[in-house]
Assembly symmetry: D3
Homo-oligomer: 287 residues x 6
């Protein structure tokens, strides 16, 4: 039985409803045909595999058996079978597209994350690459999990996950320092406080006010290096996690990593990945 959370299982059912709705008209041409079959999902290109657990859960929801052939997070290549589902042929045909849509997107995001992380780790073998809240509405859990499967950090799932003070908040409350202090006082001790800063002074103020994480927003790699150095000199570097964000991509990620950031976060990991290509073939085992 799947170990995905019950709330996620309901989401998978919603995905099936979106595609099947009042029924698969095309399988109606099969009439009373009740044959059994095996559906095999194949990779069609090189990719880090993700979404297999979700596809297997969909098979389970619809009363099919399934067998995972490759574990998530592995590289797969063209023509490699990754999952097999067994049962009524007409049901296999009904879940094909939803399973492929999930596997293709999650593998795409996992692959992009993996590649970004590999580049970043050239600069710093301990650096983390993180997603953001720039996810597809309704599909956030799956994109966040794909980032994790690819080796990345999911970052916040929702607005109640952590305090993250942005410029818009600072402009309402007055200063980064006041904002961080208010946050510390009001928020549960179980939560971290992160503060987005625009320059080194604001960065120092936020650290001294007690932030756990500093988000260097749209800093160049050089500016990141300066902030890192300054905090080191002041003996403040160990207190906080340094996160850089804004325009980080495959071309710049190594530089950012080299220059002292602990975490590099990138919206593109979830908003602009390219889906990996997969397909499914059905074989009848029993007419």
């Amino acid at each position: 039985m799947t170990d995905l959370p019950p709330e996620i299982i309901e989401r998978l059912k919603d995905f099936l409803d979106e595609d099947i709705r009042t029924g698969d008209l095309t399988t109606s041409i099969l009439g009373t045909h009740d044959g059994k079959g095996v559906g095999t999902f194949y990779a069609k290109s090189k990719s880090v595999l993700a979404g297999i657990k979700e596809a297997a859960a969909i098979a389970e929801i619809m009363g099919l058996e399934s067998e995972v052939l490759v574990s998530e997070g592995s590289w797969v290549d063209k023509k490699q079978p990754v999952l097999r589902v067994m049962g009524k042929a007409s049901i296999i045909l009904q879940i094909e597209r939803v399973c492929l849509n999930i596997i293709m997107r999650m593998s795409g995001a996992a692959t992009k994350t993996h590649n970004m992380l590999k580049l970043a780790r050239k600069g710093n073998p301990k650096v983390r690459v993180a997603a953001t809240r720039k996810t597809t509405p309704g599909f956030r859990f799956f994109e966040k999990r794909a980032v994790q499967v690819g080796g990345g950090d999911p970052h916040r799932y929702a607005l109640d996950d952590m305090i993250l003070i942005k410029n818009n908040h600072i402009s309402v409350i007055g200063s980064a320092e006041e904002a961080v202090k208010a946050a510390r006082e009001r928020v549960s001790f179980t939560k971290k406080v992160s503060c987005e800063v625009r320059d080194i002074d604001e960065c120092i103020a936020a650290v001294e006010a007690g932030a756990d994480i500093i988000l260097l927003d749209n800093f160049s790699p050089d500016e990141v290096a300066k902030a890192h150095k300054k905090l080191n000199e002041m003996g403040l570097r160990d207190r906080i996690i340094l996160e850089a964000s804004g325009g980080i991509d495959e071309s710049s990620v190594e530089d950012y990593a080299k220059n002292g950031a602990d975490v590099l976060s990138s919206g593109a990991l979830t908003h602009s990945y390219i889906a990996s290509d997969f397909n499914m073939l059905l074989e009848l085992t029993e007419k």
Copy 2:
């Protein structure tokens, strides 16, 4: 009041729940602050605008006023304001990310569709460019609508929208001919019957059996031309809509259009678009 269907409004609420969950912790630092503000959404790059109606509906759900500054389907450019929302500042901050996530994705898909269509229309000014069911689970309605805003055809929303006989179905039932005949007989007269074919013989058989649409799967532009010509010679061309699919992209779409296809469908329109960049700025109007 929004004219989006009630079911879609519920979906938008789900998107808000996914992001806000038990509340926006960060606005808690604002304490009892009750100030009013204006949030303005700006384009950050050239793009066909979409998702504005959805963002305005979200503002309405949360009790904010809104003003659409540019109508959907228009080209917008860097720094151009596209939507304004007015009301409680803390609420504006809570809807910012969900609105941006929708606008960025829908504009991305609309832009990709628009560009693909422009290339296709060089080959044939009447050709249609269509999406597929390769959409993000839970976000299909919005991606399909984005394709329409970009000038494209949404194709099927779900498995109950039309008969589309694929190879997997044909292999179960025996032949394209039998499959189309069974479909015609069993399906409502309100529905079209489409049949995916692998070669010209299968194409002819499916047309003669009464298909409304022929889907030429993975045909090269030349093969499309041959099928088109053959059907013309046999006096069958007017009976059906000719759709080509499989690897159609910006480099090949003009050739396909030129060679006789009526519809060119492409999964990439919805599975591999790049999100357009937008942001929101908040100004306080009343402390």
Copy 3:
């Protein structure tokens, strides 16, 4: 396992919730009684059987075994057993009424459809008898499926299934011709366009504008014959499906069929059928 769509299974659960709510008070008198039993559903009058698949799915939802004794679409008669459910007696008593309510209504609509179709086929052995959207809110899927089990055509399930231009639309847009043209241009190539017409001129205009289906609204059988003849003379008859609607009942359906309509649609199939009579008897197998 049932092959009804997951969305429909949820609907069946809603039906159980409507009836069971916080629990079956009466079975509480059985105390800790845990006996097993068999519930057998019997026809109490002559009827075309429908709803059996739904009743079996309800049994499955509640953890009971079931055995279908007569396949849907067959004629059944007084005292004939049609379905058997096995398991905990108290659970069998809880599903009895919901199952009967579904079987009785679906069999009633299937029987009415079957009888109407039989009369219509005297006039034209290829004619179709179709339902409309005049269904019971919340129960549409089941009434449409009952019509199909009875040999009929379900027609549209919802407003997104097909374009159907009615008088109210024509009066907004100006003319049937313009309306059909606008529809053709705006709607997906996967959808049919139907146009309701009030006289033969409007009929011709709609056909020439490219409608797939013409709905002759409140035409007498004679007027249908005239429209059919006129279209034949103009060489337009083969292009379109001719549907007649408005006051078609058991007394007139043969005439309509004889006079050239391809489809005869009737709201009464789903809004004014008489429920067929069925009951359930429980036998204890284990105290």
Copy 4:
């Protein structure tokens, strides 16, 4: 604002979703048309009006104004306007069918109930006519309320509303007497206990065991008279409510009423009523 319970408002939204789903394709031909209009609902035959409150609530859900022209429970006749809805023409067209489906069914059931009650009251001016749980799944609330609008008694809404011991229960527990005693002991003092009996002896036993209501199942009018008389002689008649059920229809209801039953319940009130005929006309007030 509507005073229907919030749970019922959600049900009305489900009904809209069932019909509108991803949107009304046909109004798409109106393009950006934004005209206002008035939709007037007319009776097309003589009927007791019901469902008007529900239709007005649907208008409210969709942002339209409404005006009820005739109060529910009144007789209406051909061409009589009963409800007016005002607002965006395209929205009026979208709610037309759901509103009509509700009004037509609820008026049908109210009319049948009213007529049955009128006949029954000839036999006994204080008798009640009641519905059963033989309602359309998902539509029970509306059919029960229609029965009330027509002057009838809704009877149980669900299995947790009252104890009703049927033959199937008696056969498990042993005797009517034991069953009623167990019920009395186990059920809340806020609930009534009804017992279905097959003959006069069982009737007496159930009354003496403390039942509040006796359901004479499939008794002829004469047998009802005998039970009534016997209970009177034994001084038990005032303790209980006497309900008769089973095959009561327009032809027999007066006799049953005359012979001493307090309540006459009939499944046909909700499972086999004929929908009353209504339609809606749209007038544009602003283009």
Copy 5:
């Protein structure tokens, strides 16, 4: 399989979603650990056991086996094992808290009810102790069922369960007499009518108008005795159930019972019970 109603099973799933949400982060430290285990629930103090059926249903929902060791309603004591769940260790850890929260609260309410009832029965061995609608929102079913497990009467589950005329209603309608008469006339014969009264005159008026239950609101035990006596003298006592309410607690309940009330209802049974203490221990059976 559980025999809790399907609606209640959904509620239990909601409880799991509330606690697990996007997943149990802590079990993530177990990595791919797939070990099996047994979780045993123990009482930590003397208590009447309740909620065991619900906890077993939760185990079933999550694919675990379960074994109930003590039946609900029994007294349990410190260190006594009451339920065992078997399966994947990580799943057992995920359901622990929700199961404990239910068992602790339901056992707390059952124990309070049991103790109150024991005291009441000293005064009158046939008296009932009942709950009210003063329950925790969202948890009413479980608190009502706990009261029943403890030997109490659940009273109304919702506002549609019975007529209960309160002072606020009487002040709108004029008098208790008119209110009871209106209730009798309008409400279904399947429902009881209860009337809250402030003094003996109002009590007599309500009985004579036909109330089934009289709720003596904030009467002292002496006043209850007077009402009881007066009704006896007038020969009205047998017609009605006498319920006392308002400040009844462990110190006064015996007096109320002794003085003639049939039912003693107390809000504290569900709004101010102390949770009984339980815990769960996990043992690994298979690494």
Copy 6:
């Protein structure tokens, strides 16, 4: 308009559905009465006020006006009016009980928290008093918020809020040290890691492995003091937050606070509070 999150508004609607269900039978006795009124909520005893925002939101959901008379977190006393709702009298009567149930429970938990905190602050003016996950299923958000209104810390809302390693986890993974290290490595940088420890050695190991929070489980005040001192001596005290839990109540909380704990968490704040007493009075303003 309310600023409670949309997900919470849905929960409030569920609470209304639980109580109103198919309608308030008792208000039916008012017939077509349409009078307006004012409902005033009064405290009936000394209490910290909470739940007022929720009650006002319920009024808004049902189309009533509301006026908050005392802000949440204030002390209120007997007969003090705290909230006024204005509109249709029958609607005011329908929301009365749900509003009272929320206000009574949330005020009860807020009061208990406030009192506990006051005692704790005698020992250490900076100490925090925190809730746990021992909340009423389905009502967690409201109990957590009540704790905050009373000055307390809500602690985790769900299992995805923070890592909290308990004994059961340690026994699976081997040691606290390994568990904390695994947690640090696997969990997002946005999350804190807490570890429950049984003695001082385990405490030191967990701190050195990088825990953010140490939960001293069932330590006596003396043992807390020893742990605090030891960590201070080792220079580790500033790195972590020290939380004590297990049997902390009004009698011991000051000692715990005095002896060095930063946070004192207590399940009783949410599982065994006594509901504060409130009531509502209705006045008719317009018949």
